[in-house]
């Protein structure tokens, strides 16, 4: 048993080794990228442009990781070692983790706008919340102009999130059932500690090792820590990573139940956590 696991981890280690030198899918030319410099971003009543300001800001703040061509090959990318330090995003691919849209679709401008300010915890991506909203909107346009996908495709439609219901013990229990049924624990572990049976062999789309989210460490989920953010994360999936979309398999109402159950793992005060103290919540049984 153990030998087998080790063998697999060796195999995957080898996979990681071979895949690492390849940090991007394709390499677009400067001219190709420049052909999209009329790209716009629309956030509320703000319009972002590829302009002197966003070019300046990109070069000042973003380029060291994401690179001049937006391919994630900035000068420090070589020093970022997944899974502890995920590699910078390759904007040319047009694949983004944090979306309000379904898997396989482009994020909305708002999604990118929010990601810039929120940052991506457990990575080298800081929170760029000091920018003005206009600066961020311009940077969204700048990020988009690296990828031809933003010309050929429209962003997906944001998923509909029903209003958050009241937390009840019944809902938390129902959430536990969802957690068991769709088998979140395969990666995240039965107690949300990122120690599920498949946790150790996960790789991202480029074959680089990646770790599942540990709910118990007090760290923020990748794409935001509000209840709505958590709802969005598992319903839309984190594209480019092993985290799939569960939109086909979790109904909107159940999704809130699952959010509440996940909250019981997480640090920080929440009503779900308070309620859970009064309940006899046992971890789900992985092998019923």
């Amino acid at each position: 048993m153990r030998t087998g696991l080790r063998k697999w981890s060796l195999l995957l280690g080898a996979a990681a080794f071979f895949a690492l030198p390849l940090t991007s899918w394709a390499q677009l030319s400067t001219a190709d990228i420049a052909s999209r410099d009329n790209m716009e971003a629309h956030i509320g009543n703000l319009t972002g442009h590829v302009n002197a300001r966003s070019t300046y800001d990109y070069k000042r703040y973003c380029v060291s990781c994401h690179g001049d061509l937006g391919d994630g090959n900035g000068e420090v990318a070589q020093w970022l070692d997944p899974p502890m330090w995920p590699k910078p995003r390759d904007f040319q691919m047009g694949v983004f983790k944090c979306r309000s849209t379904l898997t396989g679709s482009l994020p909305t401008d708002e999604d990118l706008f929010d990601t810039i300010a929120r940052g991506l915890d457990r990575s080298a991506m800081p929170q760029w919340s000091q920018f003005t909203k206009q600066q961020r909107a311009d940077l969204v346009a700048y990020v988009k102009h690296f990828s031809p996908r933003f010309v050929t495709e429209k962003p997906g439609t944001p998923i509909t999130i029903p209003p958050e219901p009241e937390v009840t013990p019944e809902r938390i229990k129902a959430g536990r059932e969802v957690f068991a049924r769709v088998q979140c624990w395969k990666c995240h572990g039965v107690q949300g500690m990122a120690n599920g049976p498949s946790a150790s062999t996960l790789t991202d789309d480029l074959g680089r090792p990646i770790a599942p989210f540990n709910f118990t460490e007090g760290s923020r989920p990748k794409c935001g820590d509000t209840d709505r953010d958590i709802y969005k994360i598992f319903m839309t999936g984190l594209d480019g990573t092993p985290m799939p979309s569960f939109a086909d398999n979790i109904k909107p109402d159940e999704a809130w139940d699952l959010v509440f159950y996940l909250r019981t793992f997480m640090q920080g005060a929440s009503k779900a956590k308070e309620l859970a103290k009064t309940m006899d919540l046992k971890p789900v049984n992985p092998n019923p």
Binding site: R60, Y61, C65, A117, P126, Q130, T132
Partner: protein, 495 residues
């Protein structure tokens, strides 16, 4: 003695200037070592960001760098603790500043004409002395960063060019207490929460390298404290909104002017309070508006032993205050203007020179080795029975600093600064209104041939002119105005 009296005169004028620097009249570099800038390639290394992410041009912080600092040297991505770093990572950096400079000031010079036994040096005349040459500043050895999530430290042993070290900054921070960005505590010796940071000033000359507004004290004033530009010992509460738009701080400081071992007052404390608010001004960028108040007490009476003041025995606390507003206006990515005002007021006792009888460091003045009444240059002591002259009043003044920067790119910056210090009320009735007034101009061009996340190097050209009324050399009964100018061509390495 000549040198001593000069320094004694100037200490009260620009008390940030150390004794040493005046025994070595042409050694402005000592000042440089006394005001190290906090640019830390160690942070850039740690996070993979270029210096320019945090610095408008290093060492000046931009809003992102300010947020980083306010979060306790954390980018808040849950990877700040050193446990996440490669084991070989060590948060240390060196800064050194080899320079060529030319320093020109006025001196009272012996003439030797008609030398006689009674007057072997001849009479004196005011003459401009100009020196130039390649020089070396001290060495800053910065180490700082997180020890654990939300616990950080900063240690800055700073050396003068002769290798004599002092601790410029020693502090620990506890951030985001109870998970709130509004609860952060700093303990140790640290720079006050000045929006326009003197420790991050780009200037490298003696006069331009400090903000006069942060150090101004009326001529003859004895208040060792009230030095906003100096690092102070104390405990500081800092709070800020999550995105750092709103910042507030309150510091309780020993009235020791940053001197360890409690050399001054036994029970004198000061408080430094700041508030600032940034607003999103759309395409004009983020504008920040703030105010500060520095109020406190410092000792004026030291018990004596054989007439010699005893360190740490200070009592007879008298009050002082410094209040003002600070603004940071950004006009797009390339141009910004910083503005600081100050209204300062010292108690009349300080105005008459009381307060620093036991000061031992370069900032305060002379150590009294004999009875205060008889030691030349030794400040007066407010011993029992002392009364103030009827002409004594509380001195007050107003200061203005305006610093404009044109940031062509993160690696090329042009900076101009003008400072004006104006006496509002002299400490003694009859003193001319303008004695002590300062005008200072500082012009800087600074180019970084490279500035990576590993190291930075800057080439700097700087020209500084400083005038102060009534603090130049004294010949006979006439005291000239101080009139310095400096040219500096230097390199500034940080790695």
């Amino acid at each position: 003695m000549h040198v001593l009296s000069r320094s004694s005169l100037r200490k009260v004028v620009r008390s940030a200037i150390s004794l040493v620097s005046f025994t070595l009249l042409l050694a402005p570099f000592v000042l440089i070592s006394a005001k190290p800038a906090k640019a830390i390639p160690a942070f850039a290394r740690k996070y993979g960001l270029r210096c320019s992410a945090c610095h408008e041009t290093w060492p000046i912080l931009n809003n992102f760098g300010l947020k980083f600092r306010d979060n306790g040297y954390q980018i808040m991505n849950d990877r700040d603790a050193p446990i996440w770093q490669n084991p070989s990572y060590w948060p240390a950096t060196f800064r050194m500043t080899p320079i060529w400079h030319r320093f020109s000031n006025l001196q009272a010079v012996d003439t030797y004409t008609g030398a006689s036994t009674a007057n072997p040096y001849g009479t004196q005349a005011v003459e401009r002395i100009t020196s130039s040459g390649v020089d070396l500043s001290g060495l800053d050895f910065h180490t700082g960063g997180t020890l654990y999530k939300n616990i950080s430290f900063y240690l800055l042993p700073s050396s003068d060019p002769t290798g004599a070290f002092h601790f410029e900054t020693v502090m620990t921070r506890f951030d985001n207490i109870l998970g709130s960005s509004w609860l952060n505590i700093k303990v140790g010796r640290f720079e006050l929460n000045n929006l326009l940071s003197e420790k991050r000033a780009v200037g490298l000359t003696a006069d331009g390298g400090i903000y006069q507004t942060y150090h101004f004290i009326p001529v003859g004033d004895g208040n060792i404290f009230g030095q906003m530009g100096d690092n102070q010992l104390g405990i500081e509460y800092v709070g800020h909104s999550y995105n750092d738009r709103t910042r507030v701080s309150a510091a309780l400081l020993d009235s020791n002017d940053g001197n360890v071992n409690l050399t001054l007052g036994a029970n004198s404390y000061s408080g430094f309070f700041t508030f600032d608010q940034a607003v999103d001004a759309g395409k004009w960028d983020v504008q920040r508006l703030g105010a500060y108040a520095f109020v406190g007490q410092a000792a004026t009476y030291y018990k004596t032993s054989g007439g010699v003041p005893i360190a740490g025995s200070g009592v007879g606390n008298k009050g002082f205050s410094r209040i003002g507003v600070t603004t940071q206006f950004y006009f797009g990515p390339h141009f910004d203007v910083n503005f600081v005002t100050q209204h300062g007021e010292d108690n009349a006792w300080f105005g008459q020179g009381y307060g620093n009888a036991v000061a031992t460091d370069g900032d305060g003045g002379v150590t009294c080795t004999g009875p205060t009444a008889t030691t030349p240059g030794c400040p007066p002591n407010n011993t029992p029975g002392t009364t103030l002259s009827a002409l004594a009043r509380a001195p007050s003044w107003n200061g203005y600093t305006i610093e404009a920067r044109y940031v062509y790119s993160p690696t090329l910056i042009f900076l101009g600064r003008y400072e004006a210090e104006r006496m509002q009320q002299q400490a003694t009735i009859g003193t001319p209104q303008n004695i002590g007034n300062i005008n200072l101009w500082d012009f800087i061009a600074r180019w970084n041939p490279f500035m990576s996340n590993r190291a930075g190097m800057a080439l700097q050209a700087e020209y500084t002119v400083m005038h102060q009324v009534g603090t130049g050399p004294t010949v006979g009964l006439t005291t000239a105005n101080l009139n310095d100018n400096e040219i500096l061509l230097g390199t500034d390495f940080d790695f």
